[in-house]
């Protein structure tokens, strides 16, 4: 930090640990910040679009993640710089709200800042630039709404939803099976969706992954999967018309919570105690049997004695079922979670049409599948894949697809993808720029240039000549007045995204623009960076 001197020529100590603080001010600070954002953008840029590439991220423990999901990449990069952190938060914000488009939002924010640097070099006040960006953003959002279209779907006809989900999955490594995965995602969402209230609880979609098999074996299970096996190897592995007792109490004599001491001072007492213990077990099994249950799921464990007893009484049972699964099972089967055996009765049992234990491959790994549940409130997607990385990436892709579907259920407006809306907005914004008399005109024009970055990256990643492609597209959009013309990444021979059936949600696109503009403004507004090099 700059040092001031007092009357004796000694340096002033004004702040605590002054020598550990570092300060960057004015144009240097802004330049440094923008440089960081731009370099981050350059990392992510290559992941955009169906021909985008993946990144390998190695965690400090040596764990490997392969992904092209923006939020995941940023999350796993060990980031120390403040500006980078802001951008990470930005992509998380997009992930939280929309769940898709996390790469584009960072790329766009980076592009905005890159353009801003040029304006700053011209001597335009950063806040004027930010104001111009905001103005331009409003224009772009209005324009997006104008070029958006509505899609229709209902529980039976959901082809449109699948197409939207496919656009989201297309850029991922799993895109070989994009049709299959998208179908799964859409069906899963439709099962749990409340179409009237337009509310979807994503938590109710369980996504389970297991290595082994191939992605093709990934399936939607109309029910729940538990990564457990029957507690006794000889128990029956398949139950039809299962009546399930969902227990949150252990199969053992209950213990009082208050501290207690049992005084055994004679042989009789000891025998009695043993008898009682036995009786507890018998009673428990009897209560379960009496209620009519033919399958027991228990949140806690039980010892061999209880296990044996259950086996003898032909009660297949599963122990150590997780709390979240218990809840999902209760919801799916319409059962109630029962905290004590005495409360068990027929009404509280969950109903599932078919329950079976399935061995996976040769690994001695079993899962239990509950199908045909009475209430269709929870579903499970069971992901298979050659290795852990693929399974994880498939899960993330499914998450994106699920989010896209949910957003469409919330708001059924879409824009066509492939960079078409960006180009269209860019045209609209630069047209509007000419009508503005103040300094902001320059900023608005830069916003339009920044918008081009996304189609440019798409074209670049697809091996096309970016400048030629974009200028052709722009010319064609104006000539034909068709806002659906985008980058033909897959070489399908048409630039019309409507024909290619590539589309994004309107909400997602708007959100991208708003969040990126917000972030660009925040970073532009910083003119002073004070860093503390303390213990860490």
């Amino acid at each position: 930090m700059n040092i001031a001197f007092d009357e004796y020529g000694r340096p002033f100590i004004i702040m605590r640990e002054q020598d550990m603080k570092e300060r960057l001010t004015g144009p240097e600070a802004r330049k440094a910040n923008i440089l960081i954002a731009v370099s981050l953008m350059n990392i992510l840029k290559t992941s955009l679009g169906p021909k985008g590439m993946d990144k390998i991220l190695v965690s400090p423990d040596g764990e490997i993640t392969v992904t092209n999901d923006g939020a995941t990449i940023l999350d796993n990069m060990d980031i120390t710089n403040e500006i980078e952190k802001l951008l990470v938060e930005l992509s998380k914000g997009q992930d939280d709200e929309i769940g898709d488009g996390t790469t584009s939002v960072v790329v766009f924010a980076g592009a905005l800042l890159e353009q801003a640097q040029k304006l700053l070099d011209k001597g335009i006040h950063p806040i004027r630039i930010a104001d111009g960006y905001e103005h331009a953003c409003k224009i772009a959002v209005e324009h997006l709404k104008k070029i958006s279209s509505e899609i229709t779907f209902d529980r039976e006809n959901y082809e449109t939803l699948i197409t939207a989900a496919m656009t989201s999955v297309s850029s991922k490594v799993v895109n070989e099976f994009q049709r299959q995965l998208s179908e799964i995602a859409v069906k899963a969402v439709l099962t749990v969706a409340d179409l009237e209230r337009k509310d979807v609880r994503i938590d109710l979609i369980q996504v389970q992954g297991k290595t082994g098999g191939s992605l093709k074996d990934t399936q939607l299970i109309d029910g729940i999967v538990i990564d457990k096996e029957m507690s006794h190897p000889q128990m029956q592995k398949e139950v039809s018309d299962a009546k399930i007792a969902i227990l949150s109490c252990p199969f053992e004599p209950p213990k009082p919570k208050t501290g207690y001491k049992l005084n055994i001072d004679s042989v009789e007492k000891y025998k009695k105690l043993q008898e009682l213990e036995q009786k507890y077990f018998h009673d428990m099994v009897k209560l379960v049997k009496d209620s009519g249950a033919n399958l027991v799921l228990c949140q806690w464990g039980f010892d061999d004695e209880a296990n044996h007893l259950l086996y003898q009484n032909e009660l297949p049972s599963v122990r150590w079922v997780g709390g979240v699964e218990m809840e999902l099972i209760a919801l799916a089967t319409g059962g109630r979670i029962v905290p004590r055996f005495s409360e068990l009765n027929e009404k509280k049992l969950g109903l599932a049409g078919h329950v079976k234990e399935i061995p996976l491959g040769t690994t001695n790994d079993n899962i239990i599948v509950l199908e045909k549940c009475s209430q269709k409130k929870a579903v499970c997607i069971f992901v298979r894949g050659g290795n852990k990385m693929v399974v994880d990436e498939a899960k993330r892709s499914l998450h994106d697809a699920i989010c896209v579907t949910r957003n469409l259920i919330r708001d059924n407006k879409i824009v066509y993808g492939g960079g078409a809306p960006e180009i269209s907005c860019s045209l609209a914004v630069s047209k509007a720029a000419d009508e503005i008399s103040t300094l902001e005109q320059y900023a608005i024009r830069s916003f339009a240039d920044a918008l081009d970055q996304i189609p440019i990256s798409l074209a670049e990643n697809s091996g096309l000549d970016p400048i030629e492609t974009i200028s052709n597209l722009k010319a064609n959009q104006i000539k034909t007045n068709n806002p659906f013309l985008g980058v033909d990444c897959l070489g399908k021979g048409t630039e019309n995204m409507k024909e290619q059936n590539v589309f994004d949600t309107l909400a997602g696109k708007i959100q991208q623009l708003l969040l990126a503009t917000q972030m660009a403004k925040m970073i532009l507004k910083i003119d002073d960076v004070i860093l503390h090099h303390g213990q860490n």
Binding site: D6, I83, R201, T258, Y260, I337, M522, I530
Partner: protein, 554 residues
Amino acid sequence: MSNFLQPTILLLKDGTDTAQGKQHLIGNINACSFVVDTIRTTLGPRGMDKLINTGRYSTVSNDGATILDLLDIVHPAARTLVDIAKSQDAEVGDGTTTVVILAYELLKQAKKYIEDDVHPKIIIKSYRQAAQLCLKRIDEIAVKIDTTDKDKSLEMLEKCAGTALNSKLIASYKEFFSKIVVKAVTNLDQELLDLDLIGIKKVSGGAMQDSLFIDGVAFKKTFSYAGFEQQPKKFIKPKIALLNVELELKSEKTGAEVRIEDPQEYQSIIDAEWDIIYKKLDTIVKAGANVVLSRLAIGDLATQYFADRDVFCAGRVPEEDLNRLSKATGKQIQSTVSKLTHEMLGECDLMEEKQMGKERYNILSGFPHKSTSTIILRGGAEQFLNEMERSLHDSIMIVKRAIKNNTIVAGGGAIEMELSRYLIEHAKKIFGKEQILIEAFAKALEITPKQLAENAGFDAMAILNKLRKEHADPNPDKMWIGVDIDNEDVCDTFKTFVWEPSLIKRNAINAATEAACLILSVDQTVKNPNSSEEQNKQIQQQKQMLRPTRGARF
């Protein structure tokens, strides 16, 4: 010879640092300049933000008090400035940057007179006199808003709230946010204006405009046990039980022990324990509650019990939210349920669980006592949300002040220029050194418009000259001429609705003068050797030595 033998007199402990005299005073003023330089650029609608990283956390802010606090200033004179910023924050909530800049400018003006050997006391006296004159003038010219006219008074509040947001990150949506702020504050009990009753929640994701105002209470879905999802999530006209009770199967007394002689009795102990919790749950349900909220945990047993009976429950609800619910429903938070009756339950129009970004939120609205409200902020990043919250806080404070004090002045440097002109006019009529010093005060006041123009990248001198010229015109229409940020010119800021409660300016002038006088009155600093490290070690050593001896007595 005797001179040589005279022992040196040690007045102060070894390592004590002293500094004194005129040079020291000048040194202090120089130290203050450092502080002011840091926050100078944050002033006004074209003010910039600072990114401050303190070890682990980083903050992006434009709020003077926040920045100064994070800088962690130790210099004694410079600390005074930090303190006035904080006091301004506590007193009026906004104008923290202004007050620091003004205080330093007063010192800067005084500096040359001190170098010319004017006694600091005379400067102090004149400054105080000038400050009094300013306050008097503010009272004279402040415009009173007719509060009996509801629409007009609301408009005034919105304008004031908007002015406070001008320099912030959310400035472009100030109309949107100032409406929210005014709604939230006017919703409060107008006598008490207890700001704790406005809850601000932050949800990452979403755009600024997605921020919500809720006429009621909202809180994030609390940690829930299995069974929660089976509870209904929407109630119309629910009965709400507000509790401070742990609803869990647990030992009633820690450390207690039950002695069981006969194994047969074992079951009865268990039953007794279950009975206690079931009785509690039963009382709650019997009283007719549909929504059970507790500050303490609600266990899995209770969750499932409530799920069976279509009752919604949430445990570990944040205390402030529960307090606000209590105020809103007019019912007490019960710390025992044994005597819970229907009358003790609160009521509202609607309770619903909703998705906000990634989170689920429980929203209760439509209370009989309209006294609490919640603002849910949306934004891209955590730092962004934090800065939004700080900005709204400033704005809320301003509205609160404006309700109590319904006179306003025009911002944008207009009021400062008017005061400056008034002081210079006055100074010409008096005799003595005060004349020049009051003029110095008047000059110092010009810093606000000057800095505003400078931050906007204008030619500050040119703007200042224009302002002086306009204000020299005795025509009262020219009284509110201030800096026009949009057109690099001057304009009537009263007409462009840059309004501030006069109280802010009063307080700012008062606090700045006080701080300047305080620093001016110091002529010596005695700094003891750093006590924190050396002495702490010694004290701890002493303590350790003491402990065993105390124990040895037994």
